[in-house]
């Protein structure tokens, strides 16, 4: 680890000022950043600890929730309003990492965590365009069973590892960002970038911008929603494929539906095409299959991750069958 300075920010204004010095990075819980610093992948000259900024979870006038970016993952998962009205989010948070890491990790840091691609993590011996632009990608043609099946590029096929963000994408969460001019908002689904030719840039945030809150609109469902995560072991592993889904039935018709996938792309993958196929139609296995086909028609998995297509299909059909009460 290279030498660095450490500063605590008491206010957003102070954080912006302290983090405005070149080379400094905001520090939430540090569970990702400190690990990457130890591996030599991140080399900030200073850390601005923003974990003392807002960790409040407050109801909004529109029936949603405003979540301070310094809220711990564990605190958000345990909040009574999240458990009651956003079960897919509570479940996604609880599926992530371990209890120890959830106690440390902040909501803002979770959103901005970097990929767990093995080649990105291996600074000593692997080529990675995300870590070192222009150096190449060893995941292409390498061990790529954890990699993206949709939205990837010849430069990068890394996935975004967050569980929380998959539920946030399905729930139309809005990211509140402080910048020098004040504050702006970005839809969570628009925050993360697909790699293209610049996989080194994970998000649309500009240098100096700071996530200060995540806003959840009123839940679109009165009924149940769910998060199902498929992984190599039963707990404490990153997703091979994950699905966040919720739906509302009116008689035999799906009146509202939300679907997002994790583990398949460089960003939490909101499945608008699949939703469009299903909204206003019947909740049948056949419809679920057609919805999946519509979403993944252009999937282009690397050889090692081809299995994810079938895995994602089965996971989607299973979760929608359960939520709609149709037999499967």
């Amino acid at each position: 680890m290279t030498p660095l300075t450490y500063h605590r920010a008491a206010t957003v204004q102070q954080a912006m000022q302290l983090a405005g010095v070149a080379g400094r990075r905001p520090l939430g819980g540090g569970t990702n950043l400190i690990d990457l610093m130890r591996k030599g992948i991140e080399q900030p000259s200073g850390l601005v600890d923003v974990s003392g900024l807002s960790n409040q979870i407050t109801p909004t006038p529109g029936g949603g929730l405003m979540i301070g970016a310094a809220t711990k993952n564990s605190a958000l998962a345990a909040h009574p309003l999240v458990r009651a009205h956003y079960p897919m989010l509570a479940r996604a948070l609880l599926a992530g990492a371990s209890a120890q890491i959830r106690n440390m990790a902040t909501v803002g840091g979770n959103v901005l965590q970097r990929t767990r691609c093995l080649y990105f993590q291996d600074a000593a011996a692997s080529r990675c365009n995300k870590r070192l632009p222009g150096s190449g990608c060893d995941a292409h043609g390498g061990f790529n069973r954890y990699h993206a099946v949709i939205g990837g590029s010849s430069s990068c096929i890394a996935t975004h590892p967050s569980d929380m963000c998959v539920a946030l994408a399905a729930l139309d969460a809005v990211v509140h960002v402080a910048d020098r001019g004040g504050e702006r908002t970005i839809g969570l689904v628009d925050l993360h970038r697909l790699p293209g030719e610049r996989p080194d840039i994970d998000t649309v945030l500009e240098p100096g911008e700071l996530i200060v809150a995540i806003e959840l609109p009123r839940s679109p469902f009165d009924g149940p929603s769910a998060y199902r995560k498929v992984r190599d072991r039963a707990s404490y592993a990153f997703a091979l494929v994950a699905v966040a889904a919720g739906l509302e039935m009116r008689g035999d018709t799906i009146s509202e539906i939300r679907i997002a996938f994790g583990g398949v792309a460089a960003k939490p993958w909101r499945a608008l095409r699949a939703e469009a196929v299903l909204r206003g139609g019947p909740a049948t296995s056949d419809a679920f299959e057609r919805a999946f086909e519509a979403e993944f028609a252009h999937a282009a998995p690397p050889e090692g991750a081809a299995y994810k297509i079938e895995l994602a299909r089965r996971t989607l059909v299973a979760i929608l069958s359960k939520l709609s009460g149709s037999t499967q």
Binding site: G29, G30, R38, K39, P80, A99, M104
Partner: protein, 167 residues
């Protein structure tokens, strides 16, 4: 400020790169807390910060400034074992013992989380008070690996203490 470690105040290190784990072991000789993977994958370095379980390898010591840290040395000693320490011995919840301090710190906080009604990923109903089954213990303790494979004894020990507390 300062870091209160097992009831004693110590100064945060001047070098911000020092992890809480390094401070505990290398500066304070509190070697009960173990170095496992040093990258947040094994749980051997688990300690309590303000009563909550965290990984001391992924926390800089300066982040703990102004907070209270409890390590395995602060939970009990040979003359006065905590209930979990005694139960781990009674149920053979260890073989080599390397993961044990982290397991016991994690279990100490985990039982408090259940008392507070915090659900887990496998809890059927997210809104009701959780019932601590063996599967719940395994899910809630999944952040602590035991390469000897003493997990059955670990679950037995935790279930016994949970039952005693409920009685």
């Amino acid at each position: 400020m300062g870091i209160r470690i097992n009831g004693q105040d110590v100064n945060a290190p001047g070098d911000a790169r020092v992890s809480l784990l390094e401070l505990l072991r290398d500066e304070l000789q509190l070697t009960g807390t173990k170095v496992g993977c040093n990258q947040g994958a094994c749980g051997a370095c688990t300690v309590l910060v303000d009563g909550e379980r965290v990984l001391s390898c992924l926390m800089l010591a300066v982040q703990a400034d102004g907070r209270a840290v409890t390590t395995i040395e602060g939970l009990g000693d040979a003359g006065q074992l905590s209930a979990l320490q005694a139960a781990f011995i009674a149920h053979d919840g260890l073989q080599c013992g390397y993961c044990t301090p982290g397991q016991i710190c994690a279990a100490t906080a985990m039982l408090r989380e259940v008392d507070a009604g915090v659900p887990s990923y496998i809890s059927t109903d997210l809104t009701s008070h959780p019932v601590l089954t063996r599967d719940e213990v395994r899910e809630r303790m999944s952040g602590n690996l035991c390469r000897c494979g003493a997990h059955n004894g670990i679950v037995d020990a935790i279930m016994q203490v949970a039952a005693e507390r409920a009685a």
